[in-house]
Amino acid sequence: MNRPEIIDESGDKYKYGFTTDIEADTAPVGLTEDIIRLISRKKEEPEWLLDWRLKAFEFWQTMQEPTWAKLSYDKIDYQSLHYYSAPKQKVAPKSLSEVDKNLLETYDKLGIPLKEQEALAGVVAVDAVFDSVSVATTYRAKLAEKGIIFCSISEAIKNHPDLVKKYLGSVVPYTDNYFACLNSAVFTDGSFVYIPKGVKSPMELSTYFRINAKNTGQFERTLIVAEDDSYVSYLEGCTAPQRDENQLHAAIVEIVVMNNAEVKYSTVQNWYPGDKDGKGGVYNFVTKRAACRGANSKISWTQVETGSAVTWKYPSCVLQGDNSVGEFYSVAITNNRQQADTGTKMIHIGKNTTSKIISKGISAGFSNQTYRGLVKVTPQADNARNYSQCDSLLIGTNCGSHTVPYVENRNRSAVLEHEATTSKISEEQLFYCQQRGIGEEEAVSLIVNGFCKEVMQHLPMEFAIEAAKLINISLEGSVG
């Protein structure tokens, strides 16, 4: 029996950098119409979905990769990637006991127990996505009692085609942007959540994404629909093995929130960031958007971004329903040669809509980080309110921190406020900690965690502890 191996632990802090040796069913490299047909066939998809994929692919070929972000990376050769890789399994597992032991071990090692009895005693249900496919979803039966659908999107396409057809691409159309378009053509799996009217999910739902295969792009697609008066808190975690070449991850998350419904979406993004010289690491080009379609609906994005070599990500809120609320809480940490261009968009369309942006960026080493955000108030969005606060902390003299908010106001009754500050860790704070006996590195970590507090407190408890640890690991060696 093969065990997951740990690659090169010497001096590297990324503890998720191992690979799993598992037989995989992998499509040949390259991106053609045939590959898309192959993916669709392997997934036994209906005709309409294949057509949709092909239309996306056709459109994608007319598009240009965006260059407006403050990011520089080697050009991606889209023809050198695999677009499908799935762990080989003779028959689809009916229960967890049938899931490949290697996979279970992998998730165990990542701290994601897939055996229900171990999974935090019923607090979190997990959908585990390994490379391109979902390998296990826990607690389905318990959720089903409430009418909640929580499964991989592939299963949803088979078992709930009407729901998928109704909402897929309705928030992020394939024409939206280059990476979203690519995803629409080649997405392989992801999670699907449907919360029926009046239902509050009794537990946190969670997807755990893992890239394993070499030279494989990961294109998952998550769709969450919260019907009237429903509530769900959704968690997303990600890791990848340590590899010398860059891995592409171009995902989409679409969320639809109806009347009086609320969705909380939390991410701890810890894709492999590359080594200290910038070799390897994940390109994280993600489109996340929530449409608050119903009145009094609410979406709250919370993200802790510590991983990836290059991040391009702007979780957005389209506030269509009257009185709807959008929130974005973000901590982004870059160290070594990492680059991140991340932020949010708040589009106010309904009346009395409110949005809040709290962004905390920490740059260390030779990294560069940009907050990029848009607050847009359309002419009909009477009484829109936005408050944005973007604070950046610099650690060391070789990093960069940039803040680029766009504010577009077409309605005089809107009250929009934006504040941003950039500074280094205060000498006075460091001295105070050190004078009380706390070492420099520990003091920096205390101060940084304090700096991020406002965001971290929006994470579910277990996630917050994990995230605080990650922050410390990410900053190791950045002081002195």
Binding site: S426, E427, E428, Q429, F431, Y432, C433, Q434, Q435, R436, G437, I438, G439, E440, E442, A443, L446, I447, N449, G450, F451, C452, K453, E454
Partner: protein
Amino acid sequence: MSAPILEIEDLCAEVGGKQIIKDFNLTINEGEVHAIMGPNGAGKSTLSYVLCGKSGYKVTSGSVRFKGKDLLSMSTEERAREGIFLIMQYPVEIPGVPSTTFLKHAVNAVRQHQGLPELDTMEFLKMVREEGRKLGIDNEMLKRPINVGFSGGEKKRMEALEMTILKPSFAILDEADSGLDIDAMKVVADSVNALRDNKRAMLIITHFQRLLNYVEPDYVHIFANGHIVKTGDKHLAVELEQNGYAEYVKEN
């Protein structure tokens, strides 16, 4: 005869290229309380920052021994762990860091240095709450980010708490009474007096004699032109209060 705890010899130090401490000499023995008094702007605070190793405060010559060890080669935190505690004029705010979290990090850093096991959360909280209560610090205040939005009096109470639980062997009070009402000043004085024993020593840096009514010094030194120009007992402080510093400042 008690042993010396702090021995400062011919110390010269500068800030931003400007010499502030010149040929400074002072020995403090275990159990003693010394007060350094001097006019505003004479560089009294510089002395306390030099002793604590704050960056930007540069020692150009001389030596300082703390309990026989070379103090100047230690980092700020090492000095703190060895037992130096500075009560600051303006304790800084650290947003987002709850006071208990801060205290726990500090206590365990010092304990680790002393070879003691770390306190677990329950033990620690019990101890902090108990000591806090004695100083009029309730649990709510302990949960607030350290010093953030604290009144002058609350900040002093927090410092008194820090000192009480870190049990330093040498406390420096740097203008610890500035801007305080009588009650807040008493909190500081009481916690200092509570700590006072025949092993621990104190250095009180102050402009006014006021605090010395509450913490009675064994020696009073007048600081001017970068060093001590006169030494006396507590009566010197009273005299200074009446006659001012003028006659000492014009010395050279």
